[in-house]
């Protein structure tokens, strides 16, 4: 470690965001440039802990102290290698990860944690700028073929790892472009799509075959799939959204958030669309149900589309600011008042409200949301207990709503089609049944990784799933694997 006292010299200085008024005018990354020297200075804050809790906090096991040190010493290329050794796509996590690593950072016990995410992004940005990131090709092909179904972060990781292990990989995507949730779920202002494209170029050169517009299970039968490939990895995501069974749900203008977000991503990509199908917030009073990342993406997108107002409603009461006692360091924070870049751009956030129904106009378009205030019992640590939900009599209210976006999370993968066709077993939550050692389903040669296996989660977990599943598949195909694992000596 170059500077044992760096953390005493420098305070935390993190991502620069562009001014709100400026960034609302475009769809570009909300982050501004961060000076390289500053990044190096920030990296010096890393204490190179005896137990780097960040390393454990990161699902991928990114060896954070090592690359912090290398950055501090101006060894960017070495840092890039170190980063890539655990993370296929640092540019994705460096942009969209909620950074559980930073929440686990030891400095966070009594001061601001190291800006790990910013450093990660700067490393990979530098890597692309300098042309250090090149295709990595195996010595020889194994002669085995693998189909990876679904091209989200899990599928991409699995495909890249398997191809590097020498297998011939075909990545199937139902949509017209590769990227899954990265491409169509996350708005451009959080992840510009060229970042995906340049990575796909690398993978293409590494030999991964991309098959877009193929709905496996529908256009390609499960049987054919099994026959054509030595192994299949399901990375189809958890796409079945949680719905709201209330009167008025079917009114026009009440939509799943993902439909809304996907459209905008197509639009930004220059795709043509049927104006009659367009879901736009422009000049509308927008209500977003659900306070998670998807909800926040809806808020940012709505503002950029020119919404008249944006209100988000949460069933649970407003969580406290800062770290709640139930989630002490180094646990990742879940129960806390999160202000994302989109929240900072405007809109109102309201809490402890239950949506009872919608009312529409004569054309069947939603106009009003009806709801009621609710309250909950609290546990020992003062957290609301969801099962104790009680409506507060007399607290009914109405809210103007021209566009209602349901962002209440996802249940499990879509079962119809491939999952059923492959006859893979499901776990009690409806996810594909497979453990995290073998990632194998009950069907020999069929593996599952990512949200379709673990349920909705973070990009960083999806990447981990893809990598570990690739190792399992490699081991299945040749009896052992030399692909790295987060937890094993290789």
């Amino acid at each position: 470690m170059a500077d044992a006292r760096g953390f005493l010299k420098y305070g935390r200085e993190s991502t620069y965001y562009r001014p709100v008024e400026q960034r609302l005018e475009d769809w570009k990354h909300v982050q501004g440039d961060f000076p390289q020297e500053k990044t190096q200075e920030q990296a010096a804050r890393c204490m190179d802990c005896g137990i780097p809790f960040c390393n454990n906090g990161c699902p991928l096991g990114n060896i954070i102290p090592d690359f912090n040190d290398l950055v501090h010493r101006d060894k960017w290329e070495d840092a890039l290698w170190r980063l890539h050794s655990t993370n296929n796509f640092p540019e994705f996590t460096g942009m969209v990860c909620p950074a559980p690593c930073e929440q686990a950072c030891v400095l966070g016990i009594n001061q601001g944690p190291v800006t790990i995410k910013q450093i990660e992004w700067e490393i990979v940005r530098r890597g692309w700028d300098e042309g250090w990131i090149k295709p990595v090709l195996p010595e020889r092909r194994s002669g085995r073929s693998v189909a990876v179904v679904g091209s989200g972060p899990a599928g991409l990781s699995a495909a890249q790892q398997l191809s590097r292990a020498g297998h011939t990989v075909t990545l199937f995507e139902r949509s017209d472009r590769i990227g899954g949730l990265l491409r169509y779920g996350i708005p451009d202002f959080k992840l510009e799509k060229w970042t995906i494209d340049r990575r796909l170029d690398q993978m293409r050169e590494e030999g991964v075959a991309f098959q877009t517009g193929v709905h496996v299970g529908v256009e390609l039968s499960p049987g054919e799939l099994r026959k054509s490939f030595d192994a299949v990895v399901l990375c189809t995501g958890a796409e079945a959204p949680r719905d709201l069974a209330v009167p008025g749900r079917t009114l026009a203008g009440v939509h799943f958030a993902m439909d809304f977000l996907t459209q905008q991503n197509h639009r930004n990509a220059g795709d043509s669309e049927d104006p009659s199908e367009a879901l736009l917030a422009t000049d509308k009073h927008v209500v977003v149900l659900g306070g998670g990342d998807t909800g926040s993406d809806c808020i940012g997108t709505s503002h950029r589309q020119g919404a008249r107002s944006v209100t988000s409603l949460e069933l649970l009461p407003q969580p406290p600011e800062g770290r709640h006692t139930s989630e002490p360091w180094p646990l990742p924070k879940k129960y806390y008042f999160n202000v994302s870049s989109s929240h900072a751009e405007g809109g109102e956030r309201r809490y402890a409200l239950l949506t009872k129904g919608f009312e529409g106009d004569e054309e069947g378009r939603v106009r009003v949301l009806r709801g009621v205030k609710v309250e909950f019992d609290r546990d020992r640590l003062d957290r609301p207990l969801p099962p104790t939900l009680r409506e507060i009599p007399g607290s009914e209210f109405e809210l103007r709503a021209d566009l209602v976006l349901l962002a209440m999370g996802f249940l499990h993968p879509v079962h119809e089609g491939l999952v059923e066709g492959l006859k893979v077993s499901l776990d009690p939550r409806g996810n594909v049944q497979a453990d995290t050692r073998g990632f194998a389903t009950n069907e020999p040669g069929v593996f599952a990784a990512g949200d379709c296996r673990r349920g909705q989660s973070l990009v960083v977990w999806a990447q981990w799933e893809g990598r570990e599943a690739a190792r399992a598949v490699d081991a299945y195909l040749r009896g052992g694997s030399r692909l790295q694992s987060r937890n094993a000596f290789v």
């Binding site: 050794s85 360091w329 030399r482």
Partner: protein, 1519 residues
């Protein structure tokens, strides 16, 4: 000729119990008092014998007794054949003795069983006859069994003397007869001595000397052997020995003196010495012995004590033709390697002999005699005390202490001490003392040694460079090799980079909690299965920095000549200055063409696909190749693992080296070649040490060098200005230093002695593998064999050669030093640390249980041996948990570990103390002293003082008041994270307040030396225990040891030294800073050490006397329960309570940057400390609660009931792990099967003998002073058995008058005689000691305000300034007070003095070592290595001959001119000296002040000077 011996009993055992469980009799140690009396003119008298016995009796306190107070560890004497007496006795028996010298007496111990004894006698007679000598008859030696203890009686052999007449040509002369007798004895020992059932031992068998010895206490010898009382029993010399051993089992054959010597000390390198001796047997040839020679083999009796084996070798050298003093000098040469001032001829003499025999290294005071010459010698360090007096009427009395024989002052001619490396000899035939110089001069002149050496001995660096280019690995290959040899990123960052940059070995903190090699899932380097042994108690660790002058790294390579001859060819060896050789140097060796040298390179690779069988086959082949090469004349074997390829993996170099080394020993070829390792493996100090320890003479770590090149090129961890050559040089230097430190840990001084000495033990290595490749090494948990080693090699190899498979091109992250997600398992990891902190924050026992579940782990996740243990339920009916003793009771057995205020912050230190005091447990000061402000209770009732006051080697702040304020005083011998080493508090952590508590200077770094300077052997420890008992009679004394092979026997020794408690610390755990090599490679898990301790104590019937505590990574109730079942009464925790207070194992304690304020003195960071006593209290109670749950299921109601019930433990049965499945713990769980065994310390109580001591008298006489502070004067005689005089009195003064004590001179005590050890120890202000006579070692130890004056008695005629008046290690750790000595002091005067002022008229070596305060004036000669490590205080030395500067260790001090204020100060103190002692020297100096004053040299520590200057600056700045 069967005689009936009436008292021979059938039961009991005369020698040690056989090995069982973890107990191994080979680990026994002993130490003792040694002395002799001789009439210089060789006039025989009974008076000499009487005086000798008197000496023996006065040394009794240096011996010991065990569970039976009347059974001693052994005492004996050696005399010349008392011809007149024997002749008279034989006449009565009808035996006619030939003239003196033509007959021999064999003192023989025979079996108790009469029939067996008879057949043994008969067999001996046959042997005597077969060797052509004539048996004259037998005499039953009268002895009185009533005079000895029951235990000794049970094992008492049948004692007889056999008389043998010289016959035949071979025995024509006296030497020939002695040789014959030797052959007979060896044959008898081999034939009869190895019978397990029937005891047989020959104490002596000679025509010149006779030994009376046995399992006696010194004072019993007269009663037991009436012979020695007989007025006709005459001799001109009497050599005596009183033994202190670590066991209590009968051992009649271990009592000294042996045939040629009596030894006080320990031979650390004995295993290596024995191996080398055995290996040499193949090359020996002797004209005098001819064909008899093989009858003597093996030269050394296996299983005998180190002293006995030394005696064996010495006897062999003497009887094969060397003079006795010469043979002694060969085995214990003085330090010559770094002595530029030594006569070149003498140096050459030593070097020549070093080429044929490695030094026998270890602390030793050795008295030797062959009946004609009697002499003594000290080891090169002078670690043992030996004082002698020559009288005007022609006697010499030498002993471990002065005052052992009464000598009138006017009869004294000389009072001296043995000097390190100097030999002292009395030639009784010539009737004179022969000076060291004369003896050596004679030997040096005998042969042209210097020419032989200069003409024949080559020096590696002088050899011409090889013409062939060095085989360098190209960079791309380098990476493959790094992978194949298991390099990790950490190796680069944590190990190599610091070595390359700073030339120092890397430091880490917070101990070891990584999985043991035998439990890890990851492939381990074979080195990691080994742990270094280290010195504790029975021998001292050394200080490799300050005692560098006596240490050496050189080693000779080549073919050793016949030990029994001396020719020019013997010098044909290559001198290698450093064990690490560069690639270029290796090529020189490989291509050497000098006559007499031939190198052979042997490949150490195996076909990786063939697995364990392939590995084994490759080893067998390698050994055969080595044997063939040596037989064909190769003198240098280069074991090389170059050539790693896709199908070939390296044989672990350590395995290859050990296998070849032992194979060649077995073939007696080993001394015909040197072994050089050319290896890609070795890259850190511990690995180098292992290779050397198993036989390597030089190591070329080619890949480490190549990696250094990469490091420098890459620059990631190295500064730009560092070039490759400098990096390599630094790396070699770092290894050199580290090796010296590693040797020093065991108290070994030279690489040559360390080589092959096998100072290691293994954990979890298969016993058969160990027997083959590491013969003689302990491996107490058997397990991993060739298959696993091959698999580990294959795992590494696959990273280098993944074939078609993709391998991310990066080194493994490692995770051994810092946790890594993909790395080595650690028991403190993100999950366990955070879980515990969360549990405490939420006050949730459920969360705590989750923590303990994660911590305890299972076979899959185990980091520790206990991880694989299970509880055997059902042996007892379970009990309802309500019936189990409450947690509040159990926590009283809990302690926190010794963490000093200094290493951790005041906040953390006090929080622990308050918490433990609230619980009724104990916290520990650590070794940094404690602010007296904490001895007073807070208003809220909390007490911030630590119940346990530690006394460590630095003795920081150890005052009477400190000791009085303790419930327990703990002597720290070793600590888990770095056993065998001292500590260091870097200057930046020595704040104002810490300096105050430690009596030192702020900003100046503090060093705790590796050894306690008052503990160089077990009887010294007993003395310190005794001192502390005197210093606070109401507190317990405990001794902290570290788990290691043999710790059980040390613990037994501690129990016999009358400590109340012993702490067995594990290698795991450990807080604070330590060298990485020590954290990882020294010490054993507590499970093993504790089990061995328990088993040994129970076997010796000592368990009931002593409380056993254990610590080392204890975290959960399960840990505590296991510790109790293995034998612990009490339990120590360190890291876990720190974690409870917020520690997150940053492992930067040494950097002062702890971000949570625990281990830092930085005020900004200290503010971040967020720990509370409540959290520590809660944690302890939870642990206790968990213990209760386990107790309930196992059926124990009280902890006392479960202690030692190891049958309730079992090995986890479901172990299917690839590595763990072979592990075998049966020895750990073994329970000694002895009748009426006591398993805990409930039932016996220890009686200290403070009721009869002189201080009781002093207390009575000083009553007015104690009561009212009224001055008193006391006059009493004193002798050397009055030990630690004044200390009880001083403690009572402290108790009554606190830190301040009384007014000066309130209690004046006048003594006449020789005071025993530790006079005035820890004595406070108000006490004045005046001694007319002399004092022994440790006078004024821990002085804290008292005054000591020692002056020569009236009537003396010798010159005081030339004669010794006080012993070694005087004023050790003194914090204030004054001392005046009218004469010369021994070695290490005022060591670690931090505040006392002293005047002395001369000092031995190492004066003012480590001093941090106070003033010392030396009015005479100061020995070598003066002021080593001195960092404070000032010394003024009167240098009349100008030779002083060359004897100073200049590392930390300047020699400055005197300033006016210095003159005033010195004059004032010298005047005081004169006033108190009437010293002529002082008078002389004062009288000629103007001429004398300029001859004073001021020794001024650099750091101290700097700190003073800074203070002056700061003050003037403020003004």
């Amino acid at each position: 000729m069967a005689h009936h011996a009436p008292d021979c009993r059938v039961h009991g055992r005369p020698s040690l119990a056989p090995a069982q469980g973890l107990y191994d009799p080979r680990r026994e140690h002993d130490a003792c008092g040694v002395g002799f009396v001789a009439n210089i003119r060789g006039e025989k008298s009974h008076e000499v014998v009487t005086k000798g016995i008197q000496v023996l009796i006065n040394l009794e306190h240096r011996g010991a007794c065990g569970c039976d107070p009347e059974t001693g560890d052994g005492a004996g004497l050696l005399v010349q054949i008392p011809d007149a007496f024997l002749r008279r006795e034989c006449t009565e028996l009808g035996i006619e003795l030939p003239e003196p010298g033509r007959y021999a007496v064999g003192m023989v111990f025979l079996a108790q069983d009469a029939a067996a004894a008879a057949s043994q006698s008969e067999a001996l007679e046959q042997l005597i006859a077969a060797e052509g000598q004539r048996v004259l008859g037998w005499r039953d030696v009268p002895h009185d069994p009533g005079a000895i203890g029951w235990l000794a009686r049970e094992g008492m052999p049948c004692v007889r003397q056999v008389f043998v007449a010289a016959e035949g040509a071979e025995a024509r002369d006296a030497d020939g007869f002695e040789r014959k007798l030797y052959v007979i004895r060896r044959l008898a020992e081999k034939r009869l001595g190895e019978d397990e059932e029937h005891f047989f031992y020959i104490p002596s068998f000679s025509a010149r000397t006779l030994v009376y010895t046995g399992m006696l206490i010194s004072r019993q010898i007269r009663g037991f052997f009436p012979d020695v009382r007989d007025p006709e029993f005459e001799s001109a010399l009497c050599l005596v020995h009183s033994r202190y051993s670590t066991n209590t089992m009968g051992a009649w054959d271990l009592a000294h003196p042996f045939r040629y010597l009596a030894h006080n000390g320990e031979i650390n390198t004995i295993q290596g010495n024995q191996n080398w001796m055995r290996a040499r047997e193949g090359t020996l040839a002797s004209e005098t012995f001819g064909t008899d020679l093989p009858k003597l083999y093996p030269v050394m009796r296996d299983g005998a004590s180190d002293s006995a084996r030394f005696d064996n070798a010495l006897e062999f050298l003497v009887l094969t033709g060397r003079e006795l003093p010469e043979a002694v000098l060969m085995m214990i040469p003085e330090a010559w390697e770094n002595r530029d001032d030594m006569d070149p001829d003498l140096r050459a003499y030593y070097e020549y002999h070093s080429l044929m025999l490695e030094p026998w290294d270890g602390p030793a005071s050795l008295a030797f005699t062959d009946g004609r010459i009697i002499g003594a010698v000290l080891d090169r360090n002078g670690l043992r005390p030996s004082r002698y007096v020559v009288t005007k009427d022609g006697f010499v009395v030498m002993a471990s202490e002065v005052g052992v024989a009464e000598i009138a002052p006017e009869n004294v001619l000389v009072k001296e001490r043995l000097h390190p490396g100097k030999i002292f000899c009395v030639d009784l035939e010539q009737g004179r003392i022969i000076e060291d110089e004369e003896i050596k001069r004679g030997y040096v002149a005998r042969k042209p040694y210097r020419r032989w050496v200069e003409d024949n001995r080559l020096i590696l660096s002088d050899l011409p460079a090889a013409e062939v280019p060095v085989d360098k690995a190209p960079p791309e290959q380098r990476f493959h090799l790094q992978q194949a040899f298991g390099y990790t990123n950490e190796d680069l960052k944590v190990l190599l980079a610091p070595m390359a940059v700073h030339a120092k070995w890397p430091i880490g903190s917070m101990g070891e909690d990584a999985a043991l090699a035998c439990l890890s899932d990851r492939p381990q380097m074979l080195y990691r299965y080994f742990k270094q042994l280290f010195a504790q108690v029975s021998n001292p660790a050394m200080d490799s920095i300050n005692e560098r002058p006596v240490m050496a790294l050189y080693s000779p390579l080549g073919t050793e000549g016949n030990l029994l001859e001396e020719t020019a060819e013997h010098a044909r060896m290559i001198r290698v200055e450093h064990p690490l050789i560069t690639d270029e140097e290796l090529e020189k060796l490989r291509r050497i063409e000098a006559p007499g040298f031939e190198s052979r390179t042997l490949s150490c690779l195996f076909k990786v696909a063939d697995g364990g069988d392939g590995l084994r086959a490759a080893l067998t082949h390698l050994c055969a190749e080595a044997e063939r090469a040596v037989s064909e004349g190769a003198s240098i074997l280069i074991l090389s693992d170059r050539g790693v390829a896709p199908d070939l993996a390296p044989i672990p170099m350590l395995l290859a080296t050990g296998a070849v080394h032992h194979h060649l020993i077995r073939k007696t070829l080993r001394t015909r070649c040197g072994i050089v390792c050319e290896t890609g493996e070795a890259r850190e100090v511990a690995q180098m040490a292992l290779l050397i320890g198993y036989g390597a003479g030089a190591i070329n770590p080619y890949l480490a060098f190549a990696t250094l090149e990469e490091l420098v090129e890459d620059g990631s961890y190295t500064p730009e200005e560092l070039d490759v050559e400098a990096a390599k040089k630094n790396f070699i230097k770092a290894n050199d230093k580290g090796l010296l430190k590693t040797f020093a840990k065991m108290g070994i001084s030279t690489l040559q002695s360390y080589r092959g000495a096998q100072i290691f033990e293994a954990i979890g290595l298969d016993r058969d593998l160990v027997a083959e490749c590491f013969t003689g090494t302990a491996s107490r948990v058997s397990g991993v064999g060739y298959d696993v080693l091959a698999r580990e090699a294959a795992m590494r190899h696959a990273r280098a050669f993944p074939g078609d498979e993709f391998q991310y091109p990066e080194l493994d992250p490692g995770g051994l030093y810092q946790w890594r997600a993909r790395g080595e398992r650690h028991s403190f990891n993100p999950d366990t640390v955070s879980k515990l902190q969360i549990a405490l924050r939420n006050g949730s026992y459920e969360d705590y249980k989750e923590f303990s579940r994660l911590t305890d782990g299972d076979a899959e996740t185990a980091c520790t041996l206990r991880g694989l243990f299970t509880f055997q339920e059902g042996l007892r009916p379970p009990v309802p948990i309500e019936e189990v003793e409450p947690a509040a009771e159990i926590v009283k057995r809990f302690c926190t570990g010794a963490m000093s205020y200094g290493s951790i912050s005041l906040e953390a230190h006090q929080t622990l103390a308050v918490a433990m005091n609230r619980l009724g447990g104990k916290s520990n000061t650590g070794e940094g002293g404690e602010d007296p402000d904490r001895f007073v209770r807070d208003p809220n009732g909390d007490l911030r003082r630590s119940a346990i006051k530690q006394v460590a080697s630095g003795r920081f702040g150890v005052t009477s008041w400190y000791l009085v304020n303790s419930d327990e005083m703990q002597i720290k011998i070793a600590q888990g994270a770095k056993p065998g080493e001292g500590g260091e508090l870097p200057g930046h952590k020595v704040s104002e307040t810490i300096a105050k508590v430690r009596h030192s200077t702020p900003g100046v770094g503090l060093i705790s030396p590796p050894p306690h300077h008052d503990i160089y052997s077990i009887e010294d420890l007993a003395q310190l225990i005794y001192d502390l008992k005197n210093a606070n009679r109401h507190a317990r004394v405990s001794v902290k040891l570290v788990s290691v092979t043999g710790v059980g026997t040390i613990a037994a020794g501690v129990a016999k030294g009358k400590a109340d408690g012993v702490l067995i610390s594990g290698m795991d755990g450990g807080t604070g800073a330590s060298p990485q090599a020590s954290i990882k490679y020294a010490g054993m898990p507590w499970e093993i050490g504790l089990a061995e301790t328990q088993q040994t104590l129970v076997l010796n019937d000592l368990r009931g006397r002593i409380r056993v505590q254990t610590d080392g990574g204890l975290k959960t109730g399960r840990d505590v329960a296991i510790a109790a079942l293995l034998g612990a009464d009490e339990f120590g925790f360190s890291t876990a309570p720190l974690v409870a207070m917020g520690c997150i194992l940053m492992r930067v304690c040494h950097l002062n940057t702890c971000p949570v304020g625990v281990a830092t003195q930085d005020p900004v960071l200290r503010e971040r400390f967020a720990g509370t006593p409540d959290s520590v209290v809660q944690y302890m109670l939870w642990v206790a609660e968990e213990v209760r749950e386990i107790m309930a299921t196992l059926g124990f109601r009280r902890v006392d009931e479960m202690i030692g019930h190891s049958e309730s433990l079992d090995m986890a049965t479901a172990v299917g792990h690839w590595k763990q499945k072979g592990l075998d713990f049966s020895d750990v769980f073994a329970r000694p099967d002895v009748p009426h065994a006591i398993y805990n310390c409930e039932s016996q109580t220890l009686v200290h003998e403070l009721e009869q001591v002189l201080d009781q008298k002093l207390l009575r006489m000083a009553a007015p002073a104690l009561r009212d502070g009224e001055p008193v004067e006391i006059e009493v005689p004193i002798c050397n058995t009055d030990r630690t005089v004044g200390t009880i009195l001083g403690s009572e003064v402290s108790r009554k008058y606190g830190q301040e004590g009384l007014a000066d001179d309130t209690i004046t005590m006048r003594f006449r005689g020789s005071a025993g050890q530790s006079l005035g120890a820890f004595c406070t202000r108000g006490l004045t000691f005046e001694i007319e006579g002399d004092t022994n070692d440790y006078c004024g130890k821990g002085l804290c305000g008292a005054r000591i004056v020692v002056k020569v008695p009236p009537g003396s005629t010798f010159d005081p300034s030339e004669n010794i008046i006080t012993g070694n290690v005087v004023l050790y750790g003194a914090t204030s007070g004054e001392a005046f000595f009218q004469g010369v002091a021994g070695e290490r005067f005022a060591v670690r003095n931090s505040g006392a002022d002293a005047v002395v008229e001369g000092v031995g070596d190492h004066g003012c070592e480590y001093m941090t305060g106070g003033n010392v004036i030396v009015l005479g000669k100061a020995g070598r290595n003066f002021a080593a490590g001195m960092s404070g205080g000032i010394a003024y030395v009167l240098d009349e001959d100008g030779g002083f500067p060359s004897r100073v260790n200049h590392e930390t001090v300047d020699l400055d001119p005197m300033q006016p204020e210095d003159f005033d100060f010195v004059q004032r103190l010298v005047r005081k000296h004169f006033l108190y002692t009437r010293s002529e020297k002082a008078d002389d100096v004062l009288r000629k002040w103007d001429a004398m004053a300029p001859k004073f040299v001021k020794v001024f520590p650099k750091d101290y000077k700097r700190a003073l200057e800074e203070r002056v600056e700061a003050e003037s700045g403020n003004g």
